[in-house]
């Protein structure tokens, strides 16, 4: 494949929900989060932008901050089934836990979505890092990190086996398999099964290393590296001009509180950041060298590396978040996206809109045409299935099945 034929892949994330306190701004419409017409509008905007897929995360427990952050009116499977009826081409990727679902239910649910959407389903095979979920699902405790992946291995192989055996052929052969954990076992799992990998990579060099690492693991297993797409999360902040973008960014930070951000990060890192000076670099001795967290291990490690790498203060860390952020004029952001893409830090991005619906509108109306003009992004869908948007081979050809 020549370089200019390589095209970016772009997913639209976080339907209906924004970031932290952003919902308080006049430019958001949190009262419409449960309104199907609003959700359809968002989906159609992403489809108008010829984006590869919509993506919805799922965490199986209520937020412990229901007071200050929006709670969902929907869960992803039913919402995306409804959106399947209101869209034509765009892919529908949903997180579903291998720890808290059985293989038969997962296989049947994703097969159903794949059938009714005409081949647009994707399954983000998450293992569920949130400890408290066990108490909602009649389990005595949360399964330990590496055992979650052991279970995931079994559940995924069983589901894939069922899709293969079932008499009614699936429009895509099988739904696209996505993975989003970046720990050591997570990467091993991804290299065996994932066709798309979501990851949080705010630092270019680390992202390139991750990209190279996952692709070479897949190659070592006899898979084609281009059949494993790496899509880091991206928070784009774009307005017409650089000055307007600065203004927008300032507005988006209006209600961001350093105190509550520091508290949240302290819990995540299991290290007290709240007593530190908010504007001085975080002292490195205060931090553990490597993460042994049972939760989102790779995410914790990433934050640790980020602090070390960029000598961040608490305030900077809170504002940064864990995903890559690009802000600037349309051209500036497109330049950076192009750089990440061409330097092989990414095959595209999982786009997390900083506010909705406007954040999606400006991405689709400004950035996508710019990327299209540069020949980096499709101007029309070539096919009808998600597999085709991602340039993945039909199941049963190309990439050899990985079995154990």
């Amino acid at each position: 494949m020549t370089v200019h034929e390589r095209r970016m892949h772009l997913n639209a994330c976080a339907l209906g929900l924004g970031f932290g306190p952003v919902w308080r701004l006049p430019l958001t419409q949190p009262e419409r989060n449960g309104d199907l017409d609003y959700l359809i509008e968002l989906a159609r905007t992403a489809e108008r932008g010829k984006m590869d897929a919509l993506f919805a995360a799922d965490f199986y427990a209520a937020s412990d901050r229901v007071e200050s952050s929006p709670s969902p009116h929907t869960e992803p499977l039913t919402l995306f089934a409804a959106l399947a009826g209101a869209t034509e081409r765009i892919g529908l990727v949903i997180s579903a836990s291998t720890t808290y679902n059985e293989s038969f239910h997962l296989a049947n649910a994703f097969a159903s979505l794949d059938h009714l959407s005409g081949g647009r389903a994707g399954w983000n095979m998450v293992t569920t890092a949130v400890e408290s979920v066990h108490a909602n699902y009649s389990r005595e405790s949360h399964l330990e990190h590496d055992l979650r992946y052991e279970r995931a291995e079994r559940v995924v192989l069983e589901a894939v086996g069922m899709w293969k055996r079932w008499a009614q052929p699936l429009p895509q052969g099988r739904p696209v398999l996505v993975q989003a954990g970046s720990s050591e076992v997570g990467k091993q799992f991804a290299s065996r099964h994932a066709e798309v990998v979501f990851t949080a990579q705010p630092v270019l060099d680390a992202a390139k290393e991750f990209y190279r690492d996952v692709k070479s693991r897949a190659s070592a297993l006899g898979r084609q590296p281009e059949h494993v797409l790496i899509l880091p999360g991206l928070v784009p902040i774009v307005a017409a001009t650089e000055a307007e973008t600065k203004e927008l960014e300032r507005e988006l930070n209006t209600f961001v509180s350093v105190e509550s951000g520091a508290k949240r990060l302290s819990q995540m890192l299991e290290t007290d950041l709240t007593s530190l000076h908010p504007d001085e670099p975080i002292p490195l001795e205060a931090l553990p060298a490597v993460s042994t967290s049972d939760g989102m291990r790779s995410r914790v490690q990433l934050v640790l590396d980020l602090i070390r790498d960029q000598r961040l203060s608490v305030r900077q860390l809170v504002a940064q978040g864990t995903h890559l952020k690009m802000s600037g004029s349309t051209v500036q952001v497109a330049d950076r996206m192009e750089r990440w893409f061409k330097e092989r830090a990414a095959d595209g991005f999982n786009v997390l809109f900083p506010y909705l619906p406007g954040g999606m509108d400006s991405f689709v109306d400004r950035l996508i045409p710019e990327l299209q003009n540069r020949g980096l992004f499709r101007t029309e869908y070539d096919g009808c299935t998600l597999r085709s948007h991602y340039g993945l081979p039909p199941v049963g050809t190309g990439s050899p099945e990985v079995t154990r």
Binding site: P21, W23, R24, P30, G34, L36, I40, F59, Y60, A61, A62, S63, V66, E67, S68, S69, S71, P72, H73, T74, E75, L77, T78, L79, A81, A82, A84, G85, T99, Y100, N101, E102, S103, F104, H105, N108, A109, A111, S112, L116, S117, G118, A135, N136, Y137, S138, R139, E140, L143, E144, L147, E150, R151, R154, E158, M162, R165, A167, Q168, F255
Partner: protein
């Protein structure tokens, strides 16, 4: 009392092991639901392939099918089958609350039972690393009917409490004060039962209807009648004649009263097949009640049932669903309207409203805020 009409979309034919391919496409469900909506029907009931066979697909998951219709047919009730024996209550409560919210309060839950051929996962218990992480697979088939019933009752109780874990009025969306929801109105449920342990609260806000409508297709046994009368909002029964139906409705209402329920909050319909004059003879003769002949005749016959208070509606099983539903819309419903037994339901009402059922308020645990 006006008649309600509903339609059943089930596992096509007991004899056929495989569904026809058309049943895997959204177009099929869309056509059916839109015609049913045009006929001003109350709801479409969606039933997947019953039972589980790991070598056969479960057909289309009824929840996924119902949800895909939410954006396509914007008025009709959407009743999806979910087994009482197969899922954790947190899963069921989330799926139904979500379906109710995206459909503007049109969700019903068809209380199905059974998890046939649970073999695959049960076998895997042995090599599951930590026993307490096994899926909650009570061996339903090996359970005594009493234990099975207890487990179902527990599931329903927990599911209702999860729907209620977000009280009405919890959502404030006060941008000025930064309050999205009042945390005092969002309560964990701390359920620790014999079969399920659930902390809550739900991660989906309270359903539009408070509780989605619980529907049950009655089997012909006393235990099932007691179960349905105690739990369901909408029961579909079977009878051959109005007299039998009236006696049966009375028995159901009596059992409901014995369970302490308000009779006004229970709807009873009867299952019926339609054999339209001039329609292609079907391979399978309908079993049970069938209305035959011209639409006019069917309507007359149906009104005889309603006049005698034998039933409140008919739940239709159609041999050729896509062809027959058009005749229901174009012929039967106008005939029923002429008889005065069928109204035009107002636009955009919830399934509870269509059925004349009230919206349950959330039950507070401990002392509430009020």
């Amino acid at each position: 009392m006006l008649l309600s009409l509903s339609i059943h979309c089930r596992d096509s034919g007991v004899k056929e092991k495989r569904w026809p391919s058309s049943r895997y496409r959204l177009a099929y469900y869309r056509e059916l639901a839109l015609a049913a909506e045009r006929a001003s029907m109350t709801a479409v009931w969606l039933e997947g392939a019953t039972g589980r066979d790991e070598d056969q697909p479960g057909g289309i998951d009824p929840v996924v099918a119902a949800a895909s219709l939410a954006s396509v047919a914007r008025r009709i009730g959407l009743v999806a089958a979910i087994s009482l024996d197969d899922y954790e209550p947190y899963h069921v409560a989330r799926a139904t609350a979500s379906l109710d919210n995206i459909s503007g309060g049109r969700c019903g839950w068809l209380l199905a039972s059974g998890r046939a051929g649970a073999g695959g996962d049960a076998d895997n218990h042995a090599d599951n690393h930590a026993d307490n992480h096994a899926d909650n697979h009570a061996d339903i088939d090996a359970m005594s009917p009493i234990d099975r019933d207890r487990r179902r009752q527990e599931l329903l109780g927990v599911t209702r409490r999860l729907w209620d874990s977000w009280k009405d009025g919890a959502i404030r969306i006060d941008k000025e004060a930064g309050i999205f929801a009042d945390p005092r109105y969002v309560q964990p449920i701390h359920h620790r039962g014999k079969y399920y342990q659930v902390r809550g609260p739900l991660n989906v806000v309270r359903p539009v209807q408070g509780h989605p409508v619980l529907a049950r297709a009655l089997r012909q046994d006393e235990a099932d009648l007691v179960f349905a009368a105690g739990q369901a909002d909408w029961i579909v029964a079977e009878a051959d004649c109005p007299e039998q139906a009236a006696a049966q409705s009375a028995a159901i209402r009596c059992a409901a009263a014995a369970a302490g329920r308000d009779g006004a909050q229970l709807r009873i319909s009867h299952r019926a097949s339609l054999v339209f004059e001039g329609s292609r003879p079907s391979d399978e003769e309908p079993t049970g009640l069938a209305f035959r002949g011209s639409a006019e005749r069917m309507a007359e016959e149906m009104s005889r049932w309603v006049k005698g208070n034998a039933t409140e509606g008919f739940h239709l099983e159609l041999a050729e669903p896509l062809a027959d539903i058009v005749r229901v819309a174009d012929e039967l419903v106008p005939a029923l309207r002429r008889q005065g037994w069928f109204g035009s339901p107002p636009e955009k009402v919830t399934l509870r409203e269509k059925l004349g059922l009230s919206r349950p308020a959330a039950v507070w645990m401990g002392e509430g805020v009020q």
